[in-house]
């Protein structure tokens, strides 16, 4: 499982405060902790607060780059901020994200090619998030086709079937799992699949339990990557165990430890 750590996001109070005060230590600690906890890449989102979001993104990317070479997922809806973030990435950048709308794909896919970045494609468009797997898969197919036309390798395309909170859109959890399965049939080699997991548990009482249970189910459906909080040890253990049960790792008594040695 390719894990993208979600903690460096201005939605979190500590990160918002660090951005505001230019406190590098908080950001760098979060970067290090997430990498140590098993993240393969880090999401970077300035959040809603900063007056100068472009400068905030540049500061975050540079600050993180001082302590790790990990790939960074530049998480923004603004094209200019996306490009300035990608420019400063020390290793691979990940565009987080594009929708299935043509005008977005036409701008962001060439950007991915230009910076040799991966890109996350959400199965949604101007009309919103589809109700069922079929419609989600149709948008995924459009994204795949556009990516192929632009010459992007399927290993650089992550389809995110967009999970909604279970307390408001319960039917979606099943449909998203089905979408993950269908994405694997779109082409050969297929695109990768990803989930911004924590959305599933928004405003639920035991978020960690909902997150880790759903992650295990998604692993069983063939999920390749997830944006999660890697500092949630129970969640990481569930993911590792789910992958073990799917035969992705050879069993041994200390398999949790073995995974973390990778």
């Amino acid at each position: 499982m390719f894990i993208i750590g979600e903690r460096i996001n201005g939605m979190f109070k500590d990160v918002a405060k660090a951005i505001k005060e230019g406190d590098k230590a908080i950001i760098q600690d979060l970067a290090r902790q997430q990498m140590e906890a098993g993240a393969d890449a880090l999401d970077v989102n300035v959040g809603p607060a900063p007056e100068e979001p472009l400068r905030a993104m540049e500061w975050l990317v540079t600050t993180i780059g001082e302590v790790t070479d990990a790939p960074l997922a530049i998480d923004t809806t603004k094209f200019e901020i996306m490009e300035s973030g990608l420019k400063l990435c020390k290793s691979k950048g990940i565009i987080n994200s594009t929708s299935g709308d043509k005008e977005k794909l036409d701008r962001l896919l060439p950007l991915a090619r230009k910076y040799n970045a991966s890109i996350i494609g959400l199965t949604m468009n101007k009309s919103g998030i589809p109700q069922d797997a079929q419609s989600r898969a149709e948008i995924a197919a459009q994204i795949v086709t556009s990516a192929q036309e632009q010459g992007l390798a399927m290993s650089d395309l992550y389809i995110d079937a967009v999970i909604l909170p279970v307390n408001v859109a319960q039917d979606h959890s099943r449909e998203v799992l089905e979408t993950i399965r269908q994405c694997k049939l779109l082409c050969d080699p297929p695109p990768r699949t990803i989930l911004g997991l924590s959305n599933v548990s928004q405003k639920t009482l035991d978020r960690s339990l909902v997150n880790r249970t759903y992650l295990a189910m998604a692993v069983a459906s063939g999920l390749d990557a997830a944006i999660v909080d890697p500092l949630d040890k129970d969640l990481m253990n569930s993911m590792i165990t789910a992958e073990l049960l799917m035969g992705k790792q050879i069993y041994c008594d200390n398999y949790l430890q073995a995974y973390r040695k990778k």
């Binding site: 790792q249 050879i250 069993y251 041994c252 008594d253 200390n254 430890q257 073995a258 040695k261 990778k262």
Partner: protein, 320 residues
């Protein structure tokens, strides 16, 4: 026809056995194994930087259960590990030896750790090729002798063993302090193999200095069980499982020369053909099978078998 190739994410660890003066030892050459980025001999798919190595067995006593056909090539030297080692190197062209300290076994001579250490020193002085050193394969006794043996070979970067679940702590600590690589053995069980690798590396021992022995079965005696375990191990290594990325060793000679097909005289079973070639052929066939399963080191006995497998390796390493 198009060749279907696979692009693997990772590779087998590369391990060096031996240390020349430059590395603080006294060997005149080194043996490098592992490092492959593909399955055995698929040169069109990946890189195989090092050929599999063959180590010839040298015992510290005369083996009492070897058939005459196996004793014959070493006559005059049996019981004298120094002369035996020299013969392997000078006459049979060995570039790696496996010194087996069988005399320390409680049921054989129960020789002491000091005796064993002295033997190791003498052999290291007599020959300059790298050494694999193993105890008597009795877990408890090996914990007594390996620390002394390991210290006697300090700085020579030997491959020392055999560590099993029951004794790995002592053997790992010895190898760690004296700079040797280690053989980690598990009973034809991939899960236990991985677990032992974790336990050993948890002691601070570098996973890059572990060689796995998945246990060896002779042809007709469980070869295919080991074979499939080795295949799975190799696939896991190529897929990036760091706790399964170790090169593998097979003790082929030890297994082959105790099966009846290699030992029974032609007077007893005329239809099996001449004993002079039957045993060596059994050893060759077993060895070559393990090469295809992913063996990085074959520990062998009969010089004729060694010669034949050596030629096979040269052929298999040709890229065309």
């Amino acid at each position: 026809m198009e060749k279907a190739t696979e692009k693997w994410a990772s590779k087998v660890n590369e391990v060096v056995i031996g240390a020349t003066q430059k590395e603080g030892g006294t060997r005149s050459s080194l043996i490098k194994i592992g490092g492959a980025t593909t399955l055995p001999f698929l040169h069109f798919e990946g890189v195989i930087p090092n050929p599999p190595a063959i180590a010839m067995e040298v015992w510290d006593i005369e083996p009492d259960d070897w058939p005459a056909v196996l004793k014959e090539p070493f006559r005059d030297t049996l019981g004298d590990p120094v002369e035996w080692a020299k013969k392997c190197v000078d006459e049979y062209g060995a570039d790696l030896l496996c010194l087996r300290l069988a005399s320390t076994h409680p049921d054989i001579k129960n020789n002491s750790a000091q005796d064993a250490a002295a033997t190791v020193k003498k052999v290291l002085e007599a020959v300059s090729v790298p050494l694999i050193i193993i105890g008597c394969n009795q877990a408890e006794k090996d914990t007594e002798i390996i620390p002394a043996v390991s210290e006697a070979a300090r700085g020579e970067n030997c491959l020392v063993g055999i560590a099993v679940e029951a004794n790995y702590k002592t053997i790992t600590a010895a190898c760690q302090s004296d700079g040797h690589s280690i053989i980690a053995e598990s009973p034809i069980d991939i899960n236990l193999a991985k677990q032992l690798n974790i336990l050993i590396s948890d002691m601070g021992f570098s996973p890059e200095k572990i060689i796995m022995h998945p246990a060896t079965g002779a042809l007709g005696y469980g070869l295919e069980y080991t074979y499939s375990i080795m295949e799975r191990s190799r696939l896991a290594a190529l897929q990036g499982d760091k706790m399964m990325s170790m090169p593998m060793v097979n003790f082929v000679g030890q297994e082959v020369w105790r099966v009846k097909e290699a030992k029974t005289s032609e007077q007893e079973v005329p239809e099996w053909g001449p004993i002079a070639s039957r045993g060596p052929l059994w050893e060759v066939t077993t060895s070559v099978s393990y090469l295809q399963a992913g063996a990085d080191i074959l520990v062998m006995c009969h010089p004729k078998a060694v010669e034949s497998v050596r030629k096979t390796i040269v052929d298999l390493m040709k890229k065309e």
